[in-house]
Symmetry: C2
Subunit: 386 residues, 2 copies
């Protein structure tokens, strides 16, 4: 029997005190959360209108460097509308990693489009531009700005890189492939608020990018998300689409297209404003925690701590152990042992290409994603831990 | 020039003091809002998990008498999932009033189905069962439990009555038509929390019902909604679908169908629990306000105050003036005059059948809905006003 589970538990024990259950990622409310939320309740502005939504959007734009940020109900809603604004239509295909959270694919399905899965890179845990180019050269025809899947005959409209656990994908390569094949880039930056690639914020490289402020993210609004874009017309359309497509008028209710009730309530935006003020401190804490894990696993036999890729400065949203390939059979034993010990750990998501609703979807070969799914273990990562 | 605008302003002035702007409907936070929301922030439970979501669902079920209530992000999300659970599929048709808020139709469109508009009744402002039966007898074939539109050839799967401004539709008649034509009833009770029909809560007569807790509703969660049903299997599927269809497991991420991120955050549910405690008092206040408007407009020439229908006890969410047909040309002058005077008023929604994305949809003749849309004026209705 392998001693890997025991040794991993012991190594984590040198990083985290054994003084009670350690969640995978819990929020931290140490700033103006009370003050801002109470102001909402005291003034009665909790819902669709209110100053915190505007302020949160302005501060998100300022922090990320995007020209525009549109606050929405959650990261899934952000992706759904971003894809629609990217021109994704029924019967299109959209390229996305198999190794990602369900929302990256469901948002494609909401558009009536089909996910087309691609492989990930060992160095970034995200879409591998080299494998993507090889796959498209084999399976797609790009001409006149459109990309057609030779097998299915469908248009491949967009590619959605997801910055896994906060680590930016290799964007130089990805943007080049997208340009060469006429693909719109929509960045799923749900996990990478605060993560930079070549000193520029993730989510601002694609035509649109999306953020999430779910309860398990680096900052939270309870539930929330945002769309980032530098295009003023797309920003205007994003706001319109996410607020029921109602045309402004003193009293008339007139909607000019099928819109969505995807707005972020002011109450949740108030929480977001307070959280955003603390984001630099949260990221410092998370990077310190990475350092501690890295030291604890230096020279460790059978597993290593995943480090930010080249040209990237990561938010280290979720700290990640990578089991050696030869140890992947021990994954579930490690998960059981660490969870039993009060260290909440989890594997990567089941590859989306293996979920019943997507098994018939087109897919590139996924050797690296399959290996990563066998080997990834996320360990407690809350910003309060270091 | 008509003196109607001036006289209506004066009559409203006998109900509401001229001491500042009167919103159409603003929330009232006079109870445990701050205590419960503070508890969320202090404990860190603001997001997907937390006791207030469970409590809010239990208390909604208890209050409405539904066996199950599932809290979701908003009323639109509730309708979308309720329709899906009612069996509405792509290329189906769904009957709904032309006189309703956009969400009643967009939720049908999200299912890939087509809205099929029907007329309203003067006595309820909602779907008229007599006109509905006449329309279906002319245009549809019902046999073997299915209803087919003879013109389009599509299945008419469901009917979605909406309880306008809190006034229940004539449910006895509506349920009879639905039974005779094999239609599933999904009640859009977004506006009628607290409204009863024959002493039973609206939203519990159909196979599923939906509520909204938007900022302008009788109680608010910032943004929120709920699905009501007496069917334990539908309730279980509603919870599953609205929480990304993730199959429970200690650590695996496995989703067995395309689900939605429609959960209500715990922070918003906390607000809802506090609001629900005050709902009986809010409704008492709103019914007192109705009495005041009714007295102010008793014997009024050119307009009347709308009163709850037979067999109904309404929440009087929005107080409603009905201009006489001969005065409908004055509607916009009345709206301008009252809004200028600081009394926020609004007309009914533009009939959905007139919105550009629905003009090609099937429709019954809409004489009453068209008349109502010309004549309805909602006047300030907040529960704090009486």
């Amino acid at each position: 029997m392998s001693d890997l589970p025991e040794r991993i538990e012991a190594a984590i024990g040198t990083v985290l005190p054994r003084d009670g259950f350690k969640a995978l990622h819990e929020p931290r409310f140490a700033g103006n959360e009370w003050a801002y939320v109470k102001e909402c309740i005291d003034t009665g502005w909790v819902s669709s209108a209110g100053k915190f939504v505007d302020r949160f959007e302005q501060e998100l734009a300022s922090y990320t460097g995007a020209a525009h940020a549109i606050a929405v109900a959650n990261g899934t809603a952000a992706l759904h509308v971003a894809l629609q604004l990217a021109g994704v239509k029924a019967d299109d295909e959209v390229l996305l990693p198999a190794l990602t959270f369900a929302a990256t694919a469901t948002s494609v399905a909401y558009c009536g489009a089909t996910p087309h899965f691609v492989d990930s890179a060992e160095a970034t845990l995200g879409v591998d531009p080299v494998a993507l180019r090889r796959h498209l050269e084999k399976t797609a025809d790009a001409n006149g700005g459109s990309c057609i899947n030779r097998t299915t005959g469908r248009a491949i409209r967009a590619v959605v890189p997801m910055h896994t656990f906060g680590h930016p994908v290799e964007l130089d390569g990805l943007l080049a492939v997208a340009a060469d094949f006429g693909l719109v880039v929509v960045e799923d930056a749900a996990e990478s608020l605060g993560s930079l690639y070549r000193d520029r914020h993730t989510g601002t490289f694609g035509r649109l990018g999306t953020l999430s402020f779910n309860g398990n993210k680096t900052i939270t609004t309870g539930g929330g998300g945002a769309i980032l874009t530098n295009d003023p017309d797309l920003a205007k359309r994003a706001k319109h689409l996410t607020t029921t497509a109602k045309v402004p008028h003193r009293w008339e209710y007139f909607h000019d297209q099928i819109g969505y009730n995807y707005r972020l309530p002011n109450l949740n935006a108030a929480l977001g404003c307070a959280q955003l003020e603390q984001l630099p401190a949260f990221i410092d804490s998370k990077r310190r925690l990475y350092d501690r894990y890295a030291r604890a696993f230096a020279g460790f036999r059978g597993a290593s701590v995943f480090s930010e890729p080249e040209h990237a400065r990561s938010n280290y949203w979720l700290q990640t152990l990578l089991l050696d390939e030869g140890e992947s059979a021990e994954r579930d034993a490690v998960l059981a042992r660490t969870n039993d010990a009060g260290y909440m750990t989890r594997p990567a998501w089941t590859l989306l290409s293996r979920l019943p609703m997507y098994t018939a979807c087109p897919s590139a070969p996924l050797p690296i994603a399959e290996s990563l799914a066998r080997r990834i273990i996320n360990v407690p990562s809350s910003s309060g831990l270091a």
